[in-house]
Subunit: 171 residues, 4 copies
């Protein structure tokens, strides 16, 4: 069994809904155990537990939210040195297209790399003109099929990457 | 008269069409002279000439295109040291949403900063859930009104910034 | 009189010492009023007051600190829409060279751009193999002459940019 | 046998010397075959061949060089879709500290992520105040022991990551 943690911060509920779809995608891969946790309920033990990690934050000024940052600056510091080689990815909901969600994902991946993790995006397209090369990004909440598929695809790919496999799962 | 240069690389024509709208937006601001040039026709003199600069590239692997990079590495080197304090911004067309257009814009802005320029994005929204915080970004070519408005807004803001004014011009 | 705000977060004192040198550099430019404030003492009014802004944070996981992020997510939100066209720059102290200080500066500049500000780095070298193209970056505290000069150079350039001038002030 | 490719562009020879140390570090790990290639001599087949990849470029305006970008835009396109899950990392030599080498590494990693690769940095310090959290970065060529160690550490970690192991190899 591979162990996947989907960790998120959410203010309006948009990123939480993304997280739910990411978790569902990961859970659809056989032999995968998934934990879905808001940062208020997550601990360093959860980070130590997982093989693969998806981290989601609202896009706040083009960077992860301060609450998510505080989690990594303070809570997560306890496992610095024990995350090497684990697999990580990111997702973010912004107020609008062009609003910095890709940059927010990169800020999340920057943190994961600092912890020694292996990070990835998904090169596949989940629909025409819709992809997640640096993590799943949305404006608002996931509603359209392609938006939900983008989140699910991230979770599936994470579960596969964490299992040492990497198959083309997109369109 | 303030002088605006809209400089672009384009492979499929998508970024070129964005450039045309950016140029039109800049030209709509009184007392503005606009040059619209593909990199094949631009020289270091054009960079020296302008007060404000919008640079556009296709999103190629999340970074500006190699042709646009070559322009800055080689052609533009002649004016390194003479661009300090000029105003710069970016735009990019990608294959899909989530495909790296924001990151490509940031790679363009990184180069402009290296030349000593002042760079900006636009905080305003041009439509519901549609903005250009780090430059105008699209999937494919500009078709919908909000996509065209995004390009025009960038050009207008650039012309205003280059004139030392900064008014809220978005929605 | 142009008004410069040097705003910083500091845990060990390293970023605070950088801030002091940035402020001294700005203050060395004639007709410049400087406020040097830790984020605990800064308000949205200070942001509204200034013409130019230097923001410093420790490099925490390659991104600005959570306390500095909280300031922008919460306190600064009150002046979103009133910062357009103001001049901004960044500085950061990291645990080591290669430790993410440049990336932390870019995360700060990303936030300032989101507020509509014009941001810059300094293309000049303050000493052999020592520059601040994306903001002043150090490992630890400023001690060597080139390290102090880097901070001072940022402050001077900020004051000049805020006054609408841009002269070569480096080596 | 795991297969490691060290791919570089170099103008002054500085990045080439970094590449040699990266390759030596990778080669010091048992059961590792290493190819060291300048981009002029590399092909898409070399990318397909490797399990792990280190890519080095001079820092040119804070972004990878145009020649390295051209390699990825044109030559590498042939293996897009066949690099998923391979391990990647970056290194860069800049003109000076604070000159954008970290950002250049991130531009390289952005490209590798676009190809579906897993990318990493090294959280360990190779000496006091000297690390490579987002890839090995230097001002000029590798001379001091810590500078050489930084390059070697990247190669070793790459070989280990590509073998599915991740041990603390730093100080």
């Amino acid at each position: 069994m591979r162990r996947i943690l989907v960790l998120y911060d959410s203010k309006t509920g948009n990123t939480r809904r993304m997280a739910e779809h990411v978790a569902a995608g990961a859970g659809s891969v056989p032999e995968t155990e998934v934990r879905l946790l808001p940062i208020e309920e997550a601990s360093a033990d959860d980070l130590a537990w997982c093989d693969g990690l998806a981290v989601g934050s609202p896009t706040n000024m083009g960077v992860l939210s301060w609450k998510m940052k505080r989690f990594w600056d303070e809570t997560a510091a306890a496992v610095w040195g024990r995350m090497d080689g684990k697999i990580g990815c990111a997702f973010s909901s912004s107020g609008g297209w062009g609003g910095g969600a890709e940059l927010a994902c990169m800020s999340l991946l920057t943190i994961l790399m600092n912890f020694g993790m292996l990070v990835f995006g998904v090169r596949d397209y989940v629909a025409k003109q819709f992809t997640l090369h640096y993590g799943a990004v949305l404006a608002g909440e996931p509603r359209a099929e392609r938006e939900i598929d983008s989140c699910r695809c991230l979770g599936m790919r994470l579960a596969e990457m964490a299992a040492g496999r990497s198959k083309n799962i997109g369109s």
